[in-house]
């Protein structure tokens, strides 16, 4: 009897959340999907069936093509940059140095700050002005005699988006460091000692023993970074405003929907974003939950 009562209570406790999630996540995704197949353009909802028109339109849309190119460039640089820097910092901190806590805090603090704040400051640091109006990093590089590093940053023709990866790496690599560091600390000390006894040098231990063991951590980190990269929005907006050269799907969706009232097209971009994230995340979720059960 009590067992039954408890089951009822337990369902009652989670019911509000389950209801909210089913409406606000799954119901809304379905609703968005419906809008993406509609002719809705303008302030008043219009659910006239449009088939795949919005999707087909996007693939003939030069702006969306720029978005895809930008997303690919940004993702490659952001993911690889954050992984390399994060791993490097984690290995350095894993040497059990003094002041480890201090360095860890410094590397992680950007995570606590909004991309909008980051964007305001980085826009100044990456000031593309040349000559007497030179500022930011360019000015610093000139002062240090590193003239080769002076660049037009995010206003570089065609490759401007690559420079947006710099503040993004600044913000996220600390997180990756933390993930790697906890992975490194989980590796039993005996393994390293055994390799040492076998005469392996420190570099060999890292490349032959530790990095292979960290593969699952790298996979997690890549998926976390990859889905953040697909969703990048605030940072682009704060650094670059609404320049088409630096456009990404998340910004396009927002602008075309809420500035341009192209609701059908906006919904289609949203759904495409969701699909791209789902392809990354669903296998990862299944894998994570399954390994959890095995434990």
């Amino acid at each position: 009897m009590r067992r039954n009562k408890d089951t009822i209570i337990s369902i009652a406790l989670v019911a509000p959340s389950i209801l909210a999630v089913s409406i606000f996540i799954y119901g809304f995704i379905f609703w968005s999907g419906r809008v993406s197949f509609s002719k809705w353009k303008g302030l008043l909802p219009d659910y006239t069936w449009a088939g795949f028109d919005n999707y087909l339109g996007l693939f003939h849309d030069p702006r969306f093509m720029i978005d895809i190119r930008n997303t690919v460039i940004f993702t490659v640089l952001f993911v690889s940059g954050s992984l390399v820097l994060g791993l490097m910092l984690a290995i350095l901190l894993d040497q059990r140095l003094r002041a480890e806590g201090f360095f860890r805090s410094v590397f992680l603090f950007p995570m606590a700050i909004s991309y909008i704040v980051t964007g305001v400051v980085w826009r100044w640091l990456m000031n593309p002005a040349m000559g007497s109006r030179m500022s930011g990093f360019n000015l610093l590089f000139k002062g240090l005699g590193l003239d080769a590093l002076i660049s037009k940053w995010y206003t570089t023709p065609k490759w401007g988006i690559a420079f947006i990866a710099v503040p993004a790496i600044w913000q996220m690599s600390g997180y990756i460091m933390a993930i790697y560091l906890s992975g490194l600390r989980a590796i039993p000390q005996q393994l390293r000692e055994a390799a040492e006894v076998d005469g392996a040098t420190e570099l060999q231990i890292y490349f032959r023993v530790i990095l292979p063991l960290l593969r699952p951590v790298t996979l997690s980190a890549m998926i976390i970074l990859g889905h953040i990269s697909l969703k990048v929005f605030d940072l682009i907006l704060a650094v670059a405003g609404k320049q088409v050269a630096l456009d990404v799907p998340a910004v396009y969706m927002w602008q075309t929907t809420f500035d341009g009232y192209f609701f059908g097209r906006g919904a289609a971009i949203g759904i495409l974003l969701l699909l791209s994230v789902a392809v990354l995340v669903i296998p990862y979720l299944r894998y994570s939950l399954r390994t959890e059960e095995e434990l």
């Binding site: 408890d6 209570i9 337990s10 989670v14 509000p16 389950i18 909210a20 606000f24 799954y26 809304f28 609703w31 968005s32 809008v35 909802p45 350095l92 901190l93 040497q95 059990r96 140095l97 360095f103 992680l108 603090f109 995570m111 606590a112 700050i113 909004s114 991309y115 909008i116 704040v117 964007g119 305001v120 100044w124 640091l125 109006r133 500022s135 930011g136 000015l139 600044w170 906890s182 997690s220 929005f233 907006l237 704060a238 799907p249 969706m253 927002w254 929907t257 906006g266 919904a267 971009i269 974003l273 969701l274 994230v277 789902a278 979720l285 299944r286 994570s288 939950l289 390994t291 959890e292």
Partner: protein
Amino acid sequence: MKKGRARYWLYIPLCLVALFYLTPLYVMLVTGFKSFEEVNLQTMWSFPTNGLHFDNFIEAYTKLSPYLWNSLKMVIPAAIISSILGSLNGFVLAKWKFPGADIVFPLILFGMFIPYQSILIPLVEFMRSINLYGGIPGLILTHVIYGLPITTLTFRNYYATVPKELVEASCIDGADLLRTYWYILLPISIPSFVVVLIWQFTSAWNDFLFAVVLTNPQNWPVTVALNNMAGSQIIAWNVQMAGSFLAALPTLLIYIFLGRYFLRGLMAGALKG
């Protein structure tokens, strides 16, 4: 043993990278303290030379204070409510597996990863239809609901580590589900509450997308107001930098004083961290 050996050279790369990480903060503060005449492209790297100008912070505060308060009014209830709900969900999912719990949990979890652009149009329409569009309550509701996946996950993972015997003992003593939660699990989950509250506070405070889409200008949180201020040519750079610092300060302070809990929240988001 290797550990004892002094390897001072390792500090060189660490210090260089630390310098890189602190650069934006340095520029933000140095510029924020300069007078208007001193804010010059050529001297942006140097210290303020004619005294520290706290008036920039005062000016930025007078411009941003309504929005800072909006943020606070929105973030505190959002963090508290989604933490409580997350704790209840986590408890049930970890300790009282009802039929179908194994399907429900991944479905909730997936909500953590979705790009919000994919639900934005229905969200706005829905908020309009229930008259919560434009105001702070609608934004609170939004942050509570989209915060549920991460809060549920954190608490479930924590409660899963609590020995089953503890819960069973309490049942044998005749306590029902609610009493078990209230007297046994809630008191030991205070650290998890700190983790989740901090995490929700930070992410709601730093949110821009929901705020810009769901609120009217008088209800803007600070991120939206700051982005608008930064876009304008009229407001001087020193005031913009001071404003950015003010907008970052609450989450920075939390990070400085409760960094350990912040890190735990971060790792929970990585699922297997």
